[in-house]
Amino acid sequence: MIEIENLTYRYPLTDAPALQDISLRVPRGQFCALVGPNEAGKSTLCYALSGYVPHFYRGELSGTIRVAEAEVAHTDLPHLVSKIGLVFQNPFNQISGARFTVREEVAFGLENLGLPRERILEQVDEALELTGLTPLGARSPYALSGGQQQRLALASIIAMQPQVLVLDEPTAQLDPVGTKEVFAALQRLSAANEMTIVLVSHKLEWVATFAERVIALAGGRLVGDGEPLDVLTDPALVEAGVGQTRYSQAARQAGDQGKPLPVTLAQAVEFFDADRR
């Protein structure tokens, strides 16, 4: 579903490339998490997958990006938008301002796709349900808290049911239970609807619990790719600023050589099994 070959990209007026020689394939329906320190190129890769790079940001691009059968650099944005949904990092930038209620806001994009009314209502309700916004459907988008606005940005994109969903830290402002619900909902969308998902997140516990694959970037380069447990316990990647859960940190410092380090709670309980009371 996603095929990137030797992608190198430089923003206008900058020297250092934001992405360097990235090659990557993601099959249809896979739920991938993208991790890495600040300035690793995570947001830029999200833009490249959804066409904002190079169509909106311009700059210098080499290599190829194919997403949902479209050659991204040579397909115009309106055409890409119907196949690839991008949820921006900052939800405050994403609300249209053209609608009076949360429900209408979620329907806005669908109306523009010219779908029949029944279908629109169905998809809107499903997206509200998945993001826990059903009770707030009649509220003004501007009467939402920061975290609720982020849920709205997410619902608006999910409602469009894109083939590929790209999310740049969609749960950054969500409460912990909401975060877990969104991760679980994304896992369901990838499994049941075969939606291909690329999600940027620093919340490694939930990345490891729900994603099938973890891709790590640092300094614009791909530095890790594989099973969540392998990537997220790789000492070189911890060193590169990817971070680690408290479970991994505690296990590493407990000094039990030889055992694989845990990333999630369940793995940690297994790791410390002999220390139960």
Partner: protein
């Protein structure tokens, strides 16, 4: 400088009732984390502490000032608020100009202003980016610029709204160090955060909010082990407390060091 929130209720013009009778006293020099579900009223409460919002009923005292009687400019001498969204806060052309704006408005000498700005930039690790346009920085770095702009004003109270969202491991650690240092300097630090691991490591007191009310308030260790209260507020205990609970320990470790200390104790006694 004591902060007293007395029976504060607040409704937004659209009718959303964001605070319902909140009472809270924060002593000078305390480090307090406010946690709770989206829409609980945390940000609304923060905006009451620096006078951006005035209570519909009840009152907020910061030292001897009633926030209802003070201008926002006046309040900003006592309470520095770092916004959740840095773009609500940043408007200058360079990082240095941005961080200089606040202290210059306090009427300090130019040399004092420069010193405060340099020191604040160093604390957040952005000394090298002083001449950059804030919008040429990533969102995570713009958040650090907003933090520096507040630190430079040397307010006795520093309020951080979601300081760690979107930050990588290194920056979260840096923000933790900044909090610890403010605390050591005797300043009051209040943070709103969904990152309970971060709260456990850097804040001695925790307040849990839901539906515009305070559900729990007390020492962090005590509050973060009250599973049913946390669940009601859509938050989860920090990772190490969840792990200790799952292992059947009675201890509630707040940091990796505490966890390891308990682990060694257990292993010695076996």
């Amino acid at each position: 400088m004591q902060i007293a929130v007395e029976q504060v209720s607040f409704s937004y013009p659209g009718g959303v009732e964001a605070l319902r009778g909140v009472s809270l006293t924060i002593e000078a020099g305390e480090a307090v984390a406010i946690v709770g579900e989206n829409g609980a009223g945390k940000t609304t409460l923060a905006r009451h502490l620096n006078g951006l919002l005035k209570p519909t009923s009840g009152r907020v005292l910061v030292g001897d000032w009633d926030t209802a009687e003070q201008s926002i400019a006046q309040m900003s001498r006592r309470v520095g608020l770092v916004f959740q969204n840095p773009d609500d806060q940043l408007f200058e052309r360079t990082v240095r100009a941005e961080v200089t704006f606040g202290p210059r408005n306090l009427g300090w000498q130019p040399a004092e202003v420069r010193e405060a700005v340099d020191e604040a930039l160093a604390r957040v690790g952005l000394s090298e980016a002083a001449d950059t346009h804030p919008y040429d920085l990533h969102l995570a770095q713009r958040k650090l610029v907003a933090l520096a702009a507040t630190l430079a004003m040397h307010t006795p109270v520093v309020l951080l709204d979601e300081p760690t969202t979107g930050q990588d491991a290194v920056s979260v650690e840096r923000i933790g160090t900044i909090v610890d240092r403010l605390h050591a300097e005797g300043r009051t630090v209040i943070a709103i955060s969904h990152d309970l691991d971060f709260c456990a490591e850097h804040f001695e007191r925790a307040v849990v909010m839901a539906e515009g009310r305070v559900l729990a308030d007390g020492p962090t260790r005590q509050v973060f082990t009250r599973g049913e209260v946390l669940a009601h507020a859509a938050v989860e205990a920090p990772q190490l407390i969840r792990l200790a609970t799952a292992l059947g320990w009675e201890a509630a470790p707040l940091t990796v060091e505490e966890f390891l200390a308990r682990l060694r104790e257990l292993r010695r006694s076996r």
